[in-house]
């Protein structure tokens, strides 16, 4: 199964979602993290993970650029799951991965600049569905404020309702330092030894994301 994490804008938390999801999948399945972004943050995470935590569930990593359709087509038979981290813009990598992906997750911050990209993403998705009609698409709000007084996430969810081609997941990924700390360590928040309230909530967010996408499998 190929899961593409895609957005038209950098800084939406694609790599955070890709690495945390890959590490969660790795607890039960053979998973490959394909870094298609020339800003190789996912690869850096893999390097750190391999070096700092060699005993953690293995997340295989590889970098591929440009047209990655054939690569994904080949690799999908070798791994139960492939998570693709694509560049934060409309790119050949994103489009070619969309042609073979089973699931596309589109992270977006609940900010005007991120939401402004959604109409264009929606158009690209509609085009890709002509070639890959079975692909499942999900929008995902990321880096939401943990301050309950800030209603941005709710407003962003209303914005998404205008784009039925991108159904929004219920789970919202919040802006938490624990995500950044674990990224630089090569860990997932589900693996952290941090017992703080924020770490627990981050863990719940990733578990919920996994359940919502895969239906609790």
């Amino acid at each position: 199964m190929i899961i593409l994490i895609a957005s038209q804008k950098g800084g939406a938390g694609k790599t955070t979602i890709a690495t945390n999801l890959a590490a969660k999948i790795a607890t039960n399945y053979d998973v490959l993290l394909l870094d298609a972004d020339r800003q190789p943050s996912a690869t850096e995470w893999c390097v750190e993970r391999k070096s700092n935590y060699p005993d953690r569930p293995r997340v295989h990593c590889v970098q591929r650029y440009d047209d990655i359709e054939d690569t994904l087509d080949d690799l999908k038979d070798r791994y139960a799951y492939i998570v693709v981290d694509s560049p934060g813009r409309d790119s050949i990598e994103m489009r070619t991965a969309m042609l073979v992906a089973d699931i596309v997750i589109i992270p977006a911050r609940p900010s005007q600049t991120d939401l402004n990209t959604i109409p264009a993403v929606s158009r690209i998705i509609n085009q890709s569905k002509k070639i890959n009609p079975s692909v499942k698409i999900f929008g995902l709000l990321t880096m939401a404020s943990t301050n309950s007084q800030v209603k941005e996430a709710k407003e962003a969810a209303e914005f998404f309702s205008d784009f039925p081609s991108i159904p929004l997941l219920d789970v919202v990924i919040s802006d938490r330092k624990i995500y950044r700390d674990n990224m630089s360590e090569g860990l997932s928040v589900i693996e952290t030894g941090n017992l703080s309230g924020s770490a627990t909530k981050a863990k719940e967010e990733i578990e919920s994301l996994y359940k919502e996408i895969f239906g609790g499998n």
């Binding site: 047209d67 042609l99 070639i131």
Partner: protein, 110 residues
């Protein structure tokens, strides 16, 4: 509905891929938004980091197993301005990429 033949699908695919909206040439900076300029800056910085890692890695191999001599040499150059943990991170990244490239060239399964 007309059934699409394989050559039609291929043409549709090519059209879809060719429609990609990228223009990262430095000649067209004026056309980019502020956010796109920032993204491009970060992208180029990251690519530079990979090259820096490869250069450091090459330099390191010239000192064999002698960490001390390598450290002494670095201390006499402008590279001493880069913290040692940053140098190590850059080299690790470069080594990782080199290994993957080698595997690819040799046709090893990933």
């Amino acid at each position: 509905m007309a059934i699409k033949r394989s050559k039609d699908v291929e043409a549709l695919k090519q059209q879809f891929i060719n429609n990609v909206d990228v223009d990262t040439s430095l000649n067209n900076l004026t056309k980019l938004s502020n956010d796109q300029l920032v993204d491009q800056f970060v992208s180029i910085s990251q690519q530079a980091a990979l090259f820096q890692g490869r250069i450091l890695s090459e330099l390191r191999t010239r000192f064999g197993n002698d960490d001390r001599k390598f450290g002494e040499y670095i201390s006499t150059t402008i590279l001493s301005d880069i913290p040692s943990h940053t140098r190590t991170r850059l080299m690790n990244l470069a080594v990782f990429f080199e290994r993957e490239l080698l595997k690819q060239k040799r046709g090893y399964p990933i």
